[in-house]
């Protein structure tokens, strides 16, 4: 089978792989590069747990072909912040109890990060719309929306 060489930058680290035309970014992240914080929930773009930031946009890694990521930056939950430098979103998710099983959390965080990068003062409705593609079965979403709202800049009164 014909393969293609791809190079990307995952959370600031250069990565390369030989992929087939049908391999998805999710396959390559998990199978080739052991980037396990990107979860696999459906492989059909329905659940959002594999959401990553691809050159500034939130995408489902399972619907992105690996070759489409060639030459681009990929950011995952680990790239948003770390124990040494937590991102405000991560701190607010913990403080607000926005995490139960945690399986949707990496995808929620990447969607939320892109939202706040593009719309720093997002309101609750905008937050809900931004994470509408990220399913969560545990929390009822309220605490997730609370956490993102708390991380957003306050609207001018």
């Amino acid at each position: 089978m014909m393969t293609y060489s791809i190079e990307t930058n995952v959370n600031g680290r250069p990565r390369a792989a030989e992929v087939t035309a049908r391999d998805t970014l999710l396959d390559v992240l998990r199978d080739h590069w052991d980037v396990f914080e990107v979860k696999n929930g459906c492989e059909q773009g329905d659940c959002g747990v594999c959401t990553v930031i691809l050159s500034g946009k939130a995408v489902n890694a399972c619907l992105t072909l690996a070759v489409q990521a060639n030459g681009k930056d990929v950011v995952t939950a680990k790239g948003i912040g770390s124990p040494k430098e937590p991102h405000l979103l991560q701190t607010k998710f913990v403080e607000h109890g926005a995490i139960q099983c945690g399986f949707c959390t990496p995808g929620m965080l990447t969607s939320a990060k892109v939202l706040l990068d593009q719309n720093p003062k997002a309101n609750r409705q905008e937050i809900r719309e931004a994470i509408a593609g990220n399913l969560c079965r545990c929390t009822g979403y309220k605490k997730i929306v609370d956490a993102i709202e708390a991380a957003a800049a306050k609207p001018e009164s």
């Binding site: 979860k39 459906c42 939950a77 099983c101 949707c104 969560c136 929390t139 009822g140």
Partner: protein
């Protein structure tokens, strides 16, 4: 919406860690993407497993030819039923202890009749995932399609197609008899009778069934799987004909359970492939496999007839429940027993007759799902209450208040409710919180409000003689280790144990480390099911921590020249009581609680220590630990908590005690319904439960919020659509669960009566929180439109049909 806690404006003074809204200890790993779930590891030389599933729902399996698959390069093993030593066995549902009662037939790989579409037929292990997938396509299976039966009522009829090899499709039936039903209806001024239907639904956890396994150095098959029950190691060992101690199951953090990971999923398949190949194997279901081939919540058909006097007193309730178990037995008899016991709800009714049946069909099998037989009858009895209220011109609250069971009352099964029953208070609080009704925005929009109450058991059935064990120890620096074989499915099962140990041993939560979910290395704690872990393992951990505390206080009393009863333990110090000053509710906040909750809640637990010289009255925990260690005093304890037990109920009358306790709660919903389109919008939803004692209010609120949305999905959209055994909704694009834009902000109210049988008086809330939502929604829609929907989910189509518009 502001989350409110009733009864406790300020945090209770007597607890230091319990009752505080602390960030969970497992939350940080999850936000940093560091938590490793079942499928987040690779081992050298690892193979990928794949399951071949039946194309037919009802068929005879004639032959399987695996030769082409075996020849494919990269295929290491292909297994069928003939390779399974004990292929036909029974599930014992993760028992720590052998008991009678029900056992469900469990077949590892199909070898006779195919009983549902998606049943496992063969297993493949290959060097790569894509090779395993290709190999599955190369296995030739010859089937003789059979007629099958897909409706439980048809399956009950004499002469019906037999799903299995037995003489009847009826797995079991139960009865409850109280009073004289004819006499009851004779006293009724008003009688309502209707048939209610609820659909098959999926758990839809975000993490599909998944695991990996390997043969360890010591020859033990070690399985790391997403499971609610590590004690399936016994069932796996039985299938392979191995001693139980040769199979080990480890449960990492689980990406959602909701009952769907209570039955065995990938574990046996992994063990078989590892045993055959000697190599590590990984196996994860696709989403489609998860939906078509693993247990669902049972669809029910429920005929209810209820009579009341003109002043609104219920006098008779007659119910017949038929549950569709699908192709295999699994937990159906138990789910049905829960439904039977809870069939008349939280109401006091003089004359009751309940008949229930669970029936095999060729649909996907059904088993445990959050609420375990509770949500189905709740939809029916709470609809009936509103139908009666309407005829009697009483408010929904009023008819309920006239009939709620109270502490000391007997249920229809004769069981006296000896613990706290606060249903009435929960109903008053939700309606108060709902506030004044919203105004409709435009002419086709109608506003309606609905309320529903439920009582739901927590803890397993008493005849199971349930137990849990937990180990608590102190290290030389005063840090604490808890080892307890709980499975953490996201509800904070591990973190709550850490809070209990921290409370008793007087250390901050950050000083406690918890090891969970390993059948070889953590004391067995039983299943994370039946809303039992806080109750059972919380009590076991409390018991173990108290023994360690007693030892510490004994040694500290010697050091401080006093008696242990004069001592207290807090902030890593042991001190003579009344010596330290607690400045509750004052200025300084505990660093662990110093969290901004958007101004909605202040957890003020300030602690200040007296500044005078106190060396003769205070000793550091670490020094006491070292003194104990020097003398060989044990600084650990492993405790077992035994739930109270009863023998089986009388199956002729249903009389007896099945559960240790119940959780009572009410939910209220306000909807707007568009009469032109049938679209329902939930404007407000309030959920109030007596939680006994919230160990961590942040986690408890999370359960109430998530439970209400789980229930709302059941009410509004969820439906595994099956046609002649074929699932028409096998993806999350067709099987719809609520998204963030569908979800209203759930307002939660917690009553802390302290009246539960869990640690510190806690009750269980994981399952109870989802039970009354769908009937509250149905009642709200009926209030808005004046017509009732008798079948879930309440879709726009059903509304327009009920309105006679289509």
């Amino acid at each position: 919406m502001i989350a409110k806690r009733a009864d406790t404006e300020s945090v209770k003074a007597e607890y230091r860690v319990i009752g505080k809204p602390l960030p969970r200890h497992d939350a940080w790993g999850k936000v940093y993407g560091e938590t490793k779930y079942s499928n987040d590891y690779k081992l050298p030389n690892m193979l990928y497993g794949k399951v071949l599933r039946s194309r037919y729902a009802a068929a005879r399996l004639l032959s399987i030819d695996t030769r082409d698959a075996e020849k494919l390069p990269g295929v290491v093993s292909v297994m069928t039923a003939k390779d399974v030593q004990n292929n036909e066995t029974v599930t014992r549902f993760g028992q720590t202890h052998a008991v009678g009662g029900f056992e469900g037939l469990y077949r590892v790989l199909a070898d006779k009749k195919i009983r549902f579409k998606g049943e496992a037929v063969a297993l493949v292990a290959a060097e790569r995932r894509d090779i395993a997938e290709k190999a599955i396509d190369l296995i030739k299976v010859e089937y003789e399609p059979l007629e099958g039966v897909f409706d439980p009522v048809a399956a009950m009829q004499p002469g019906a197609y037999q799903v299995g090899e037995d003489k009847s499709n009826v797995i079991c039936s139960y009865k409850v008899r109280k009073g004289n039903i004819e006499e009851g209806f004779a006293h009724a001024d008003v009688i309502v009778e209707n048939t209610y239907r609820v659909p098959m639904v999926d758990h839809a956890y975000l993490e599909p069934e998944s695991g990996m396994a390997w043969l360890d150095d010591d020859g033990v098959i070690t399985i790391r799987a997403a499971t609610q029950v590590i004690e399936h190691f016994r069932g796996v060992a039985d299938v392979l004909g191995l001693p139980h101690n040769k199979v080990r199951v480890i449960a990492p953090m689980v990406g959602g359970g909701f009952g769907g990971k209570e039955d065995i999923t990938v574990e046996t398949y992994l063990a078989l492939l590892v045993w055959k190949t000697g190599r590590p194997v990984s196996l994860t279901y696709t989403r489609e496999e998860s939906i078509i081939a693993h247990g669902k919540r049972h669809p029910y058909i429920m005929r209810y007839k209820t009579g009341a006097t003109k002043d609104g007193k219920l006098v008779a309730m007659e119910a017949e429940l038929i549950s569709d178990a699908g192709g295999y037995v699994y937990l159906s008899p138990w789910v049905l027993l829960y439904s039977t016991v809870q069939a008349t709800g939280p109401y006091d009714i003089a004359h009751v007759r309940v008949d229930t049946h669970t029936v095999l069909t060729n649909n996907t099998f059904c088993s445990a799902n959050r609420g375990f037989g509770g949500p189905q009858p709740c939809f029916a009895y709470e609809s009936q209450l509103d139908e009666l209220a309407k005829q009697l011109n009483l408010s929904p609250l009023e008819i309920r208040k006239r009939n709620y069971l109270h502490t000391g009352d007997a249920m229809a099964t004769g069981r006296v409710l000896e613990h706290r029953v606060e249903t009435e208070q929960t109903a008053e609080k939700v309606l108060e919180a709902l506030g004044p009704p919203s105004k409709p925005k435009s002419p086709p929009e109608k506003i309606g409000r609905g309320v529903a109450s439920s009582m739901t058991s927590y803890g397993r059935m008493m005849f199971l003689h349930d137990t849990s064990r937990s180990f608590v120890s102190l290290d030389l620096d005063g840090s604490v280790t808890v080892r307890c074989g709980v499975q953490d499915i996201g509800g904070g099962q591990a973190s709550s144990l850490a809070q209990i140990a921290a409370e008793i041993l007087g250390v901050p939560l950050s000083d406690v480390n918890v090891y969970i979910g390993d059948s070889a290395l953590t004391p067995l704690a039983g299943t994370t099911t039946a809303t039992r872990q806080l109750y059972m393992s919380g009590n076991a951990t409390l018991k173990a921590a108290r023994v360690v505390r007693d030892n510490l206080l004994k040694k500290a009393a010697e050091i401080l020249n006093t008696s242990p009863e004069n001592l207290d333990l807090k902030d890593r110090e042991i001190f003579i009581q009344n010596h330290r000053k607690d400045t509750l509710g004052l200025k300084k906040t505990d660093p662990e609680c110093n969290v901004n909750y958007g101004g909605t809640r202040k957890a003020v637990v300030a602690v200040e220590t007296c500044v005078d010289d106190d060396s003769d009255r205070v000793v550091a925990l670490e020094d006491v630990v070292k003194a104990c260690a020097a003398e060989g005093m044990p600084l650990f304890n492993v405790a077992q908590f035994n739930a109270p037990t009863r023998e089986l109920i009388d199956f002729k009358t249903g009389q007896g005690k099945v559960f240790a306790d119940f959780t009572f709660g009410t939910q209220a919903i306000e909807v707007s319904v568009d009469e032109e389109t049938g679209k329902v919008t939930v404007l407000k939803i309030v959920s109030c439960y007596d939680v006994g004692q919230a160990i961590n209010p942040l986690s408890a609120e999370g359960q109430l919020e998530g439970g209400a949305l789980y229930g709302l999905g059941y009410g509004m959209m969820e439906n595994v659509i099956m046609e002649k055994g074929i699932t028409l909704s096998p993806t999350l694009a067709e099987y719809l669960i609520p998204t963030a834009v569908d979800a209203p902000d759930v307002e939660t109210i917690m009553i802390e009566s302290g009246g539960g049988v869990g640690p510190f008086g806690a009750k269980g809330i994981g399952e109870p929180s989802c039970v009354p939502t769908a009937p509250a929604l149905a009642n709200a829609v009926s209030d808005a439109l004046g017509v009732r929907i008798y079948e879930l989910p309440i879709t726009p189509e059903k509304i327009l049909k009920a309105l006679g518009k289509i």
